[in-house]
């Protein structure tokens, strides 16, 4: 697959034809010259700036005036003892688990549904996909209205024991005390999960559908010949074949949910008792509303770390698998 991937051994073998090598090198330098600006930008604006933020997180810069004096881990220690940040971590964990689980279950269900050669399939597909064209802000504004009144969607939910105003609901389901916070599922966060699932499920459907279409028909036919029911076919054969896609969906949804900001900012804000607060919102308010830059930087670094735990192994393994 790779063409000009010259290994050191090959390089020495090529030495005799000097002319050819020089020509190859000129173009190669040109290629490098075209790539260089992007590489410089990425190293500066991604890695350099992360390092910079890392340093800010260790400084005393907690006012409008930059203060670069070294504070050690003070800002991090403050955070992990902070009620709001503990609530954020709980919310992020709950949100991520519920969001990913729902997206995967619904994504698989809808993709299999679309795979049944229904009439009007493209119409259904368009309906399931379109929310992805929207902004999280639009989604937040619309679902805020849908969830806000004590009628609307809540009519359907009353029988489930969920009532009235969602975001001001400070109840925690299955709660127990842990650290400074009550650990469990904040009722208010379920509203945000529903909106996020509505927006992002189409992505999972698209991926699963692509996966389903890549499975050769012989697989299905062979299973049917062996007397498998449709349910068994999907449960025992197709879904296991789609597992790599599930891994991708989990990774993509996890990184979205760990850094989610705009949906919650537009829909609920931090909520009473911080029941719908997340690190993204906390970082924004701390840094740009409160001017606590060092604290904000520390929140950002924790967010980065949480994403990196998922992404780095995934990037490394997909690199190995890809080439």
């Amino acid at each position: 697959m790779e063409t000009v991937n010259i290994t050191p051994a090959e390089k020495t073998a090529y030495v005799p034809s000097v002319r050819k090598k020089r020509k190859w090198t000129a173009d190669h330098w040109l290629a490098a010259a075209f790539l260089a600006p992007s590489v410089v930008l990425i190293f500066l604006f991604v890695y350099g700036f992360i390092g910079w933020t890392g340093y800010v997180s260790l400084s005393n810069w907690n006012s409008l005036v930059p203060d670069w004096s070294f504070a050690g881990l003070k800002n991090y220690l403050y955070l992990f003892h902070d009620f709001r940040f503990q609530a954020d971590l709980r919310n992020t964990l709950v949100f991520t688990v519920l969001f990913i689980a729902a997206v995967i279950v619904l994504g698989q269900l809808l993709a299999i549904l679309l795979d049944q050669k229904l009439r009007g399939e493209s119409l259904f597909r368009n309906i399931f996909f379109f929310p992805m064209a929207l902004s999280f802000v639009v989604t937040g504004v619309v679902w805020q209205w849908l969830f806000n009144p004590s009628t609307g969607v809540n009519l359907f939910l009353k029988p489930l024991g969920l009532d009235g105003k969602w975001y001001t609901d400070t109840n925690i389901l299955f709660g127990f005390h842990w650290g400074k916070i009550e650990f469990g599922i904040p009722v208010a966060i379920i509203a945000v999960v529903v909106a996020a699932v509505w927006q992002m499920t189409g992505f999972a459907v698209a991926m699963y559908l692509a996966g389903l279409r890549a499975i050769p028909d012989e697989v299905r036919e062979a299973a049917r010949m062996d007397g498998a029911t449709e349910f068994q076919l999907y449960w025992k054969i197709i879904l296991p074949l789609l597992r790599p896609i599930t891994v991708s969906v989990i990774i993509i949804m996890a990184h979205i949910s760990l850094k989610i900001f705009d949906l919650i900012y537009a829909m609920t804000g931090p909520g009473a008792n911080f029941v719908t607060d997340v690190p993204g919102v906390y970082m924004f308010e701390t840094t740009f509303r409160g001017n606590y830059y060092a604290n904000g930087a520390a929140i950002a670094m924790v967010m980065l770390l949480s994403v990196a735990i998922f992404i780095v192994p995934y990037l490394i393994s997909s690199r190995k698998g890809g080439s």
């Binding site: 190669h28 075209f34 549904l113 379109f130 449709e230 924004f284 990037l315 997909s318």
Partner: protein
Amino acid sequence: MARSVWARSFLYALAVAMSVFFLMPVYVMVTTSLKPLHEVTLADMWKLPSTIDWSSYATAFDKLAPNFWNSLLLVVPATLLSALLGALNGYVLSKWKFKGADTLFTLILFGMFIPYQSILIPLIQFLREIGLYNTIPGLVFVHVVYGIPITTLMFRNFYAAIPDEMIESAKIDGAGFVRIFRYIMLPLSITGFVVVAIWQFTNIWNEFLFAVTITTSDKQPIMVALQNLSGSQIVQWNVQMAGALLAALPTLLVYIFLGKYFVRGLLAGSVKG
């Protein structure tokens, strides 16, 4: 495939039920935006408007038009520049691989996943320093820079599908780096450009965090302005919904008319490197 009528009916019922769930917000958005304010009440939420009232669109348009223009001024150059940069990078990283190219690519790719909060503080200091803070060109610059990973990934995958033999034979014919790009890759890239452009257009139009931190008041893109609409004291839900529709319109139109490429972009964006 002999399947009972009951099973088929069940599948259709399920598909319709799910469609209702997905369309419910659209229904509420459209009907609410067409209602006069006195009909926008909790009790009447699911009802159709008794008369169609366009005034909330007029109000929303008055408030959001400047920001709508800001978004257009931002999204067009940012999309074009980042697509061009991505095409060049993708070309180099797929057809002119060198030792360590894959590692470099992975390092670039990581930039796509970082929470932007982790670069925001230095970014704002930097933009202030070079005089681009609170300007549309500043936002364009930011979107081009942080678009590099995804556009590079998409073009690299796209170009990987172009057979290497074509490049090899062009090389033998004496074509160099630039000629190969100009006369072989670019003509084959039209779909790639459409997919990447749609992806970047949608993402930049919908982006919020950079927009809200880098710009203030009259320089704000549409999404920030829409969010501010709901921040005011009295929430006029019909105006809000009209505003949300206006803000969503460009990306919805792109989706309706170029949906195929939109979905291709989605799949290309899901790292298969």
